[in-house]
């Protein structure tokens, strides 16, 4: 599903953000990428959804070399992915429903179908009774659940989550992780960046350890 071959990344500053990272993720896998701050976790995710380009290396997603996709066709790659950010990246001037519906509007899904699918996605994260509220009126945990509903509403093949529990307490973090596990059980490939060892211990199956941009080891529990 996702294959990285000798990926290197250097930003403007000296030193490598990623050094010779290679790994394969199979369809339906549930992976954690972990490491201390600045180890390159977020850079790795950004490269996979092609927000940034690697300095060297090749990345294959769903049998397609994503570095060969022209800029104006990147949407084709992104439509296969659902992305969850640490800072949620919600539209705070829009209601919960609209925040989730925007994904389907982009895809040109009919209005009636949007209503049905958004309701189902919000029910999955237990927010269906708050879908007409504004995100700013909800708690952090609820906001992150909106972000998860948005990421899964179009049933993407891949879910990428960058520190999805970074702003949450332990109880909420477990709740969010359970949701992502549930999404994975429904068939999506899930990659989560986190430095929360407790979560990894509890939910971890396959783990990548990054340190200073290098892939130290891979573990399958």
């Amino acid at each position: 599903m996702i294959e990285l071959y000798h990926v290197w990344k250097q930003y403007q500053k000296p030193g490598w953000a990623l050094s010779d990272v290679s790994f394969h993720v199979e369809r339906g896998d549930f992976w954690f990428i972990t490491g201390p701050s600045g180890s390159g976790k977020t850079t790795l995710l950004k490269i996979i959804f092609r927000e940034i380009l690697p300095t060297q290396g090749q990345i294959i997603v769903d049998r397609r070399n994503i570095l060969k996709i022209p800029d104006h066709k990147i949407y084709q790659l992104r439509r296969k992915m659902g992305i969850v950010f640490q800072d949620f990246r919600l539209l705070f001037h829009k209601r919960v429903f609209d925040n989730v519906a925007v994904v389907l509007q982009v895809l040109g899904v009919p209005r009636k179908e949007i209503r049905r699918r958004v309701f189902n996605a919000l029910r999955m994260v237990n927010l269906h009774n708050k879908m007409w509220e504004y995100p700013s009126h909800l708690s952090y945990g609820e906001q992150q659940r909106i972000a998860i509903a948005r990421a899964v509403v179009n049933h993407p093949m891949i879910i990428l989550a960058d520190e999805p529990t970074g702003n949450l307490d332990t109880e909420l973090a477990f709740e969010i992780m359970s949701l992502l596990r549930e999404v994975n059980k429904r068939g999506a490939t899930v990659i989560i960046c986190t430095h929360d060892r407790e979560l990894i211990r509890h939910f971890g199956q396959k783990i990548l350890f990054l340190y200073k941009g290098k892939l130290l080891r891979k573990e399958s529990l």
Binding site: F49, Y75, Q76, R78, M81, R89, V102, V103, V106
Partner: protein
């Protein structure tokens, strides 16, 4: 604008008809009125009743017959008018012409000048509206940067992101055009009332005229087009990333 062509005495009705036909042939001519010698005397007497006695004492009618010709107001140029006068002057039977060419030329050069100033100011305003709309859209894009970024992450095409801004720019331009038409209408109706006597002799020559339907539509469509291009240019750089 008018010109008077005085006729020689003792012309036959055929000769007079011939002159009238030639006058009416010209596209510059709006209206032709034939004034007989008797009509001219009557007019004189009505205008200057105190001089009626002098005219009565004359043995013959001193006033010649004439054609009073009204020329179109939107005549192409003073040279066209001069050519027309020259041609009519050469027709046998025309004795004299009353026509103020200097005044016409001055008015026409004044008209050319105001038109040039109009074009210049219009050009500046078009450029200004282009940059204003472009900047409004740029600010709008900037204020919705996060939303656009989210749209890009969830797989929106550039087209999907661009369309609302293009519609906005086009509508701004269209409404700008419509508002300028309303302002023009108000100005045209109020300015002559306001200026009134201050226009003096110019009042006869300055003709405040509203745009035709076609011109009004063009102004609004032009505004919409400026808005569309303004938004396109402001989006082009942003969506290149």
């Amino acid at each position: 604008m008018a010109a008077v062509f005085f006729l020689e005495n003792d012309l036959t009705p055929e000769q007079i008809d011939n002159i009238e036909a030639k006058l009416k042939e010209s596209p510059l001519v709006l209206e032709v009125n034939f004034i007989t010698s008797d009509d001219a005397v009557t007019r004189f007497k009505n205008k200057f009743p105190e001089l009626e006695g002098i005219v009565a004492n004359l043995k013959a009618n001193p006033f010649p017959a004439s054609f009073e010709v009204t020329l179109r107001e939107n005549i192409m140029s003073s040279s066209d008018t001069a050519d027309f006068i020259y041609q009519i002057q050469r027709i046998p039977g025309i004795d004299d012409i009353q026509f103020n060419q200097d005044w016409v030329e001055r008015m026409q050069s004044f008209s050319r000048l105001t038109r040039a100033i109009g074009f210049f100011l219009g050009g500046i305003l078009i450029l200004a509206s282009f940059f204003i709309i472009s900047n409004v859209i740029k600010l709008n894009v900037f204020s919705r940067k996060d939303e656009i970024e989210i749209q890009r992450f969830i797989g929106a095409t550039n087209h999907f992101i661009r369309v609302p801004f293009l519609i906005e720019g086009t509508m701004l331009g269209f409404m700008g055009g419509a508002m300028s038409l309303i302002l023009l209408l108000i100005t045209i109706n109020l300015l002559p009332l306001y200026l009134g006597a201050s226009l003096g002799v110019l009042k006869e020559f300055i003709n405040f005229r509203y745009l035709t339907f076609g011109q009004s539509v063009n102004v609004m469509l032009g505004g919409a087009l400026i808005g569309l291009f303004g938004s396109l240019t402001s989006l082009a750089r942003f969506l290149k990333k």
